[in-house]
């Protein structure tokens, strides 16, 4: 090794020099990108809305070159907080504004319904409000009671703070501590996969996601709730009661690029994007 000293020293120095050049180059490149406030929008918030807003942002950037719309996730509450503090220009909130948030402006861009789902092999096709309450309160534990198989009901619910849960609790007049669940999930897809994996499970997810999954052959099915069969159409024309607004939140009336963007979200081009993400465009 000592006799390879010169070769080693040469290679080491060469490596060091190459690394320095590379790093300097990288730094130079990173300083040269334009960070112009006037054509840059930062949007943060709900992970439910993030895929939709990513697509809308892309469409907007194509129509308005030299603009940059960055979409980040972090949850509806983060979206609201970031908008208030100015860290984000627009916030995404997959719920109506809370009373303490009424000083902000909400722009609804779509609606999302919530459907109760069970495994496809479950013979039940509809549940009344009282029955759902009994199941989620843990008062009825066996599908047999409702005309199904003799099996324990596996109750799937959502984690606290999620707007889906709040909507569910609100509609079925339950409190969070009333619910006796067996599995708590975070995102819609986790719910679908959990119900798909267990023939005795019952859960609630976004209607659009559920409908899409059924079309793709996932082994779940949607239950009629209080007599109404869940569908995007029903949400659109208001006959389906379990629905929530998808809001873009700003501190005051939007101006400049933000105003352009929000106006864009109400245009016809975005309607097809909304449907592609399995949400419900607003009825005109």
């Amino acid at each position: 090794m000592i006799c390879n000293d010169k070769l080693f020293a040469y290679r080491f120095t060469l490596f060091g020099r190459v690394l320095t050049v590379v790093l300097l180059g990288v730094l130079l490149v990173s300083c040269s990108s334009e960070r112009n406030k006037a054509n840059h929008l930062q949007i943060t918030g709900s992970s439910t809305m993030a895929p939709l807003l990513t697509e809308i942002a892309k469409a907007f950037e194509q129509r308005h070159p030299h603009t940059r719309i960055d979409v980040q996730t972090g949850g509806s509450s983060r979206g609201v907080v970031d908008t208030r503090t100015g860290l984000a220009d627009i916030g995404m909130a997959s719920r109506a504004l809370k009373p303490q948030e009424r000083d902000l402006k909400a722009h609804t861009i779509a609606r999302d319904g919530i459907a109760i789902i069970v495994h496809r092999d479950n013979p039940i096709t509809a549940l009344s409000r009282a029955q759902v309450q009994a199941i989620y309160r843990g008062e009825q534990r066996n599908w047999q009671h409702f005309g199904g198989h003799d099996a324990d009901i596996n109750v799937v619910s959502k984690a606290e703070g999620r707007s889906t849960l709040e909507l569910f609790l609100d509609y079925f007049e339950l409190r969070s501590s009333d619910i006796k669940a067996h599995t708590i999930i975070g995102d819609n897809e986790q719910g679908i996969k959990t119900v798909e994996g267990n023939p005795n499970a019952i859960g609630y997810v976004s209607i659009g996601t559920a409908q899409y999954s059924v079309e793709q052959g996932v082994a779940i099915k949607l239950l009629a709730t209080s007599g109404v069969i869940p569908s995007s159409e029903a949400v659109r024309n208001g006959t389906f009661p379990l629905s929530r607004p998808l809001n873009l939140v700003t501190v005051k009336e939007p101006q400049g690029l933000a105003a352009q963007f929000i106006a864009f979200t109400h245009s016809a081009a975005v309607e097809s994007l909304i449907e592609q993400q399995y949400f419900v465009p607003l009825a005109h």
């Binding site: 070769l7 080693f8 290679r11 490596f15 490149v29 300083c31 990108s33 697509e55 592609q276």
Partner: protein, 294 residues
Amino acid sequence: MHSGLALRCDSRLLDRVAQTLLWLLAALVCGVFCWLLFDIVIEGGAGLSWSFLSQLPEDAGRAGGIASILVATLAVLVVCLSVALPIGLGTAIWLAEYSDHLIVARWVRRSLQLLAGVPSIVIGLFGYAFFCRALGLGYSLLAGGLTLACMVLPLLVGALEAGLRAVPEPLRQGAAALGLSQAGTLLHLLLPAAAPALMAGLILSVGRALAETAALLFTSGYVTRMPESLADSGRVLSVHIFDLTMNVAGGDHYAYTTALVLLGLLCAINALARLAVGVLFNGNVRRNEQVFSQ
């Protein structure tokens, strides 16, 4: 060593039993992993194509490809390693060679072990608060890389320190006797001798870095646009997989394909790491190959 290591008449039986047991357990472990690998390859193989690697994501990731995501992942990795390697090397050398008599060394080692136990989500939140907000980097690849460096440091230091400690003492004494400076001993003797450990540490770190999701979601972000600089936000492979499986309806298919690409990337980087360390240290990376195999 134990006294009474005289040949026991049942020790050959023990060896046979151990051999069978070890083969069985190893096969069990391998079997489960191969099952998982198999699932990924089968489900993801269909979507793999050149256009998948070269196009940008479309339709929330359900169509198009992952070009921007690959670039973002590589950028974050480069930042992570360029920060973690110097710090990790320096720390490991200091711990192994300079500080045995110091009590503070024990605390440095403990703090690194503690760092290894920080939940990835906490590191993500910390990274957001410190790198993105306090240091003003915002959602960026740079912030993501720095956060990853924090996660990867314990592994790197652990592997490297063990490698340096395993270098036999006579080597150091000989170097001192010949009048070689400490730096010289390090560069020409110790580091080359510890090269296999460096490689192992690098490979483990790259594996850990590529596997990290929560930490990067909050620091390098969610944007799928092709990043133009380190200050841009970009989505990495693991975050993309997370989004496709958990957040986007119908994203499973491309999630598997992305996972397959991630594994391929890991293989490629590992091979590259072996090559790089081999070239630098004159091929000293041939591991202490098993002396006796039966």
